[in-house]
Structure formats: structure tokens, C-alpha cells
Amino acid sequence: MMDVLYFAWVRERIGLPKEKIETQATTVMGLIEELRAREERYALAFSDLSALRVAVDQELSEFDASLQGVREVAFFPPMTGG
């Protein structure tokens, strides 16, 4: 069981800020494939990975990062603070 979080337009497109997911995926990319296969809104949110960033246990990561022992994964667009 893993917490998956969505922010900004990713959250809006998927329609929720957070969900618990049971996954067999071993990498972020594997998790994305599973989500894409779920429903249209997920496929849409994850259609262009160049417009997405991922954090694994609250650290910015790459899409090929391992999910071994991970408790929280977050997807969001490039950041625009400051």
C-alpha cells in the first residue's frame, strides 16, 4: 500500500488529491503504466511525461526510480514558486 498524491493540474485532471494504491510496480514508470491503464482521466493526466515531475518519499526523483520500500509518491507539473 502506497500513498499517491497529485498536485496542481494533475490533481484537477485526476479529480482527487490523494489515494492509497496497491501496486505490483517496482518503479515509478511501472506505477504510471498501471495508472494509465485504469481510466481515461489517468491516461490524460499522464499522457505527456515531459510536463510532469515526480517526488518519491518527498524527494524529487526520476521516472525510473525504484519503489522498493517507498511509502509516498507524488505527481505534479514543474514548480512555479517564488
Binding site: 496542481a8 514543474p78 514548480m79 514558486g81
Partner: protein, 147 residues
């Protein structure tokens, strides 16, 4: 080093004075304030800032620690707001203190560049009934290569 993430408004001048007064023998203090701008054609009703509680604080702390490690700094301060803001509101500030003006300037500049593209904040602009997420700029990502 102080990192604050809050919804409430803060007094940038008072924060700067408190920061400066706490320093011992730092001759140079640099601050940056980010302020909500109106849209190019005007009409901004609201800017909403979303963030990632938990990760935000960690990311800001990491950026500030990096700055402390790279430059001769006595101290660094980061305050960043989230939630709804209006034109003219102060969004955030950073401040750096150093014995040398060059270090204080570069470290503040570095903090801003990293905060802009590596801390999990997202801005949404609301105007005339519709709202749009602010797009990240290629030049902001580009700016990181300076460091």
C-alpha cells in the same frame, strides 16, 4: 537558519530587521521579496498558491543548507506563503547574511533560482471567472545551470 511555510501574511520589513539584528558581525544582509503582479492586461482577481506540505519544508531546508555550504553565510531565512493572494501581496522572501557582500548577493540569488524551480509550489491565476496554472519558464530551469 529559519524556514517558514505559512498561509498568513507576514511583515517583510519586520522580518528583515529581526534577521539582521540576530546576526553577529555579518556586514552584509541581502533580501529578496516576491510580490504578486497583476496580469499583463490587468484584471487579476486572485493568485492561489498550492504546495506540498511536508515536502515543501524539506525542499526549502535542503536549498538553504546548500547555500550555507557553498557561501560564507552566517544565516539564511526563507518565508513562503500559500493560499489565496491578491495583487501587491508579498508572496515570499529570502534573506542572507554574510561578512562579504558578494557572498550575500550570490547566495540570495541562488536561493531564489532553486526555490523557483525545486520547491513544490504551484501558482494559479484567477481572472474574469476563469483560472489558469502559471506555466514554468524555460529560463527558470536554465538559470539553475549558473550554479
Amino acid at each position: 537558519m529559519r524556514i517558514v511555510v505559512q498561509q498568513e501574511a507576514f511583515d517583510a520589513g519586520a522580518e528583515l530587521n529581526t534577521f539582521s539584528a540576530a546576526q553577529v558581525n555579518m556586514g552584509a544582509v541581502v533580501s529578496f521579496n516576491g510580490i504578486v503582479r497583476d496580469l499583463p492586461g490587468g484584471g487579476l482577481d486572485l493568485m492561489e498558491i498550492e504546495h506540498y506540505p511536508g515536502m515543501t519544508e524539506k525542499a526549502l531546508e535542503k536549498i538553504a543548507l546548500d547555500a550555507m555550504a557553498r557561501w560564507d553565510l552566517g544565516d539564511a531565512l526563507v518565508i513562503h506563503r500559500y493560499g489565496p493572494l491578491k495583487t501587491g501581496d508579498t508572496i515570499m522572501m529570502v534573506a542572507t547574511a554574510s561578512p562579504h557582500r558578494k557572498d550575500a548577493f550570490e547566495a540570495a540569488d541562488f536561493l531564489m533560482d532553486y526555490l523557483k524551480s525545486r520547491a513544490p509550489f504551484w501558482k494559479k491565476e484567477r481572472a474574469a471567472g476563469s483560472s489558469d496554472w502559471v506555466a514554468s519558464k524555460a529560463e527558470d530551469e536554465e538559470a539553475l545551470k549558473r550554479w
